[in-house]
Symmetry: C2
Subunit: 237 residues, 2 copies
């Protein structure tokens, strides 16, 4: 009989079990955001464990944003933010460069695909804001101003998508971009888009014009070209 058949024995800690039990309890209870939870002492007694252990399990849910505790009032179910925890992880600067590049690439992918959604909600679009950013950009003199306008323009595109989750995603990633931007710059001075070779360049103004009078397909292609320089960089993985 081969030893591989033997599954390693589950050695979950007490708190792990409590956590699972609570998770089950929450799911079964069909709780809605705002609903109150039993107090710690009640939970501890009901599950036959110490308040210490219960508190640690609850702390996990609190960290995830699933529950909120109003001090000395009790606990309630809360509506978690999907990206909140991811943001905190990015903040630790513990991710390896490969992952950061992949995240950066994910942003490029989203921006190319985002055109469709923007066109879908075009009627709500406020093009004048994009116009203003472009004007500011055209008057910019320093590299730093240019970068700032670049970020502003792309942020505005996310806003036009009307998808708050995608907007949230972008905002969360801004700090990461700083990191990858500077890395790209170090390698190739790729940032200034005054590419001198024969590849065509798509400016922010081009994008705006297409947004006004073009179609999604054009927009996607232009955005792809606009972001070309980054795609090139990343493809060398």
């Amino acid at each position: 009989m081969s030893l591989e058949k033997l599954r390693p024995v589950e050695h979950l800690s007490q708190v792990d079990k409590i956590e699972m039990s609570l998770q089950e309890y929450l799911r079964m209870g069909n709780f809605q955001p705002g609903d109150a939870l039993p107090k710690e002492t009640e939970l501890a007694e009901a599950m036959g464990v110490s308040r210490t252990a219960i508190r640690e399990a609850l702390s996990r849910f609190r960290t995830l944003g699933i529950i909120e505790t109003r001090k000395n009032r009790g606990m309630i179910i809360s509506q978690p933010d999907v990206f909140n925890n991811m943001e905190r992880i990015l903040d630790t600067q513990l991710l390896d460069d490969e992952t950061l590049n992949e995240i950066f690439e994910m942003r490029l992918v989203i921006e190319v695909g985002l055109g469709d959604v923007i066109f879908l909600r075009k009627h709500k679009a406020d093009f004048s804001k994009l116009e203003k950013i472009i004007e500011k950009e055209e008057k910019a003199t320093t590299q730093m101003e240019l970068v700032k306008c670049d970020i502003e323009f792309h942020s505005m595109l996310y806003n036009l998508s009307g998808n708050r989750t995608i907007m949230r995603f972008q905002k969360m990633l801004l700090p990461v971009f700083d990191h990858v931007y500077t890395k790209l710059k170090e390698n190739t001075d790729a940032y200034p888009k005054k590419v001198s070779d024969n590849t065509k360049v798509v400016t922010h103004r081009d994008l705006l014009n297409t947004l006004k009078d073009g179609d999604p397909e054009q927009f996607r292609s232009q955005m792809r070209t606009h972001l070309m320089v980054y795609f090139k960089q990343l493809s060398t993985d």
Copy 2:
């Protein structure tokens, strides 16, 4: 004097402060995954607080996946998974429908934009796997089989992108799609792609052919059309 001038007093709990302090400590220490941390008692003594409070702060980092504790050995910095916590939040079914729809839309956006990356890494692509899935799909008889093949095909596209983070994102979202899929179906029976009106239909085989012989621009457009039915549904927000 107006009352608005008075800023609300910061009332952070002890643990909150410890958490911030530790975060600072970790960042300044420039820790790498695998590095060992001081033991709980040392931290407690150094910060002049009880072990209980330290443990709760550490528990937060543990929940986020920033540190790992090997029982009775000590704690080490670990390489966190960006999407792990998000996955757990999705699992709670606590997100409102709007957010779920937005996440679903994000997936559509990504799939449209993903073509570029797939073409970028085309040389590595294993088209035979897509072929097999399509064949299985064409032989499928039940709705369930069709859905399964659909998911498989799209999953494979993510794999071809070679971007592990994006792949991870997709895997995390699979359960959400189930939910939105069934919701869409309830409303309109939109799922079976035998649309009878005059909009053109793009099959998985079409996509594969374009992947083989076409260009990224074609692929994006076809993918957009392929996913048309979902875009339609969601645009009615």
